[in-house]
Amino acid sequence: MKVDLSFKGVTGRAIADRRLKTAIDRTTMTAETKRRLALMDYPQFEAARARGTAIKDHVVANLDHYLEEFERNAVASGAVVHWAATAEEACGIVVGLCRQAGARHVTRAKSMLGEEIGLPHALEAADIERVETDLAEHIIQLAKEAPSHIVWPALHKTREEVAELFRVAHGRPQDSEDVPAMVESARRQLRSLFLGADVGISGANFLLADTGGVCTVTNEGNAELTTTPPRMHIVTAGIEKLVPSLPHAYALLRLLVRSATGADITQYTTFHTGPKRAGDRDGPEEFHIVLVDNGRSRMLATGLRDMLRCIRCGACMNHCVVYRQIGGHAYGATYPGPMGAVLTPALEGVEKTRDLPHACTLNGRCQEVCPVGIPLPTLLRGWRDTSWKEGLVPGSVRAGLWAWRFVAERPRLYRLATAAAVRAMRLFGRRGWIAGMPGAGGWTDYRDLPAPAGRTFMEQLRDRKTGR
């Protein structure tokens, strides 16, 4: 049987997968609850959100200035700064550095930018052995899968599936009812790999312009174990990660962590500035930072400036009714959920990805929870507009909309048509609900449709006016 790889086909299978729904619910519902509780203890959230929004807007408005300041200070601290306009350039730089270091084993701390530019694949193609150290990335590396969430990449995996992956890869029996024992198994498995790596690769949550410092946040401590023992630490970071200074980063950190996991701060928040110094007990001899554009400067020029504020907390997907039904993989891209549906067309072109901005109910939850006030529904509507203007909307939809417009612009015809439709629909109603009707299967296969009132709104209004 041929597998339907269209967006409809993929989402259809995802929705039918009850196991996936269970896995998504277990994590997103916990995340939603924990965020809500965290904000109850933080009544300053609204003010902080306005401030965080202003900080990111300020950085984006002066991004060239801050990039140059960052570069100057990073170089002064002993770091080497590289610039990559595209994903290919970025991967080429990282692979080149690994080769230059004679690296056979590299450890990597989770970075969504690394996923975005295809770094795991590039390292594999260069025959460099890559060890993912974030527990979730470790799980999906074993499963040979892509992340399905930007904070919990293995969110789609149930504990039973993880137990089976670990049993094979760690060579030890696993008990799926004992999650702490499975975590311990991964700890034992990865410890020697951390210490034996030649290069450690991380992303960045913030880049500090005034010191040239790079901030990473984790709860596991894997970033520091990845970046400290090897001879070389490579950072890959999107150019939008800049902040002016440490207190600006702290203001955003309060928003990021509460929105992501409902904690007030990550367990490990580390600022890396330059390579190992004279007298230092540990740390990498070489420290490289790759600044990656990959479409960001184009976003600034094409009406997606607001999206450059995104701090990758994942709250929008945790609260998205669509994400929670279909999961991350159905989006077919690095970034899922509402932020992904805005970013993916910008990164990969709207021609191939026009389904994503349409897979949205525009309920506005994502914007409500966004810690930097990104108007995600507006940006999604913008992509719908573009997709219409570029003629990417299928002919049947265009014809349908044309027909609707034709009728809607002719009031008498509209009233006639709606009056006929209302009466026709009532024929299918049972106790006020329609369970099935020709042409309405797309709706009624999943839930009943309320049967319309006896007459149209306009008819009722006219009756009321004439006092009948």
Binding site: A23, Y42, A47, A48, V183, E224, T228, I265, Y268
Partner: protein, 213 residues
Amino acid sequence: MSARDTILGMLRAALGPHRPDRAAIAAEAAALLADPALIRPALAAEDPVEAFAARVVSPKVNATLDRIGALAGLPAAVGRYLAAQGLAPEITVQPDPVLRALDWTGFAVRETALPDEAVALGRARWGIAETGSLVFESGPETAVLNHFLPLHHLVAVAAGDILPYLEDHAAVMGAAPRNLNLITGASGTTDIEGSYVRGAHGPRFLHILLIGP
């Protein structure tokens, strides 16, 4: 054209010709830090030391706390913790002159944490009451791996070094160390079905020894 020129050129084209000068940018960045009280949470207690003490044992941080009157009492406090946990009196002590000057008779003391270290003791440069964070600055007296390899991480911090808020730390910090580590609780993960497990890669237990009246 280099990638650097391409990127900066694209940004400048998008941002247009009318741009603020350096001084205006700096003034705007500084203004974004005004009135920090509006954007930070209330402390658990009015006194930062009490707030820190309350915070670190709360479920938010989940550390254990031992308050000792004076630094000289630290080895005995460490001994108590090890005995209570059923651990041998063998520890890595951060090569910090303050810690090294103490009397460690009765302990086997190492300078560098083992790959599978059981217990390491460090001294935090600062503590932050808002979050319950311990702040370390890497250097000749502070190895970074010391905070990450042990299963039990013991950290001494002086009551006089407790700061109220994150911004207060930014204000007192001098030149950036190679690694500035803010450590808040033990290592944890929620990567398997969102259930919280301690001791993912780093320490499973964080024990704080708060020194001072």
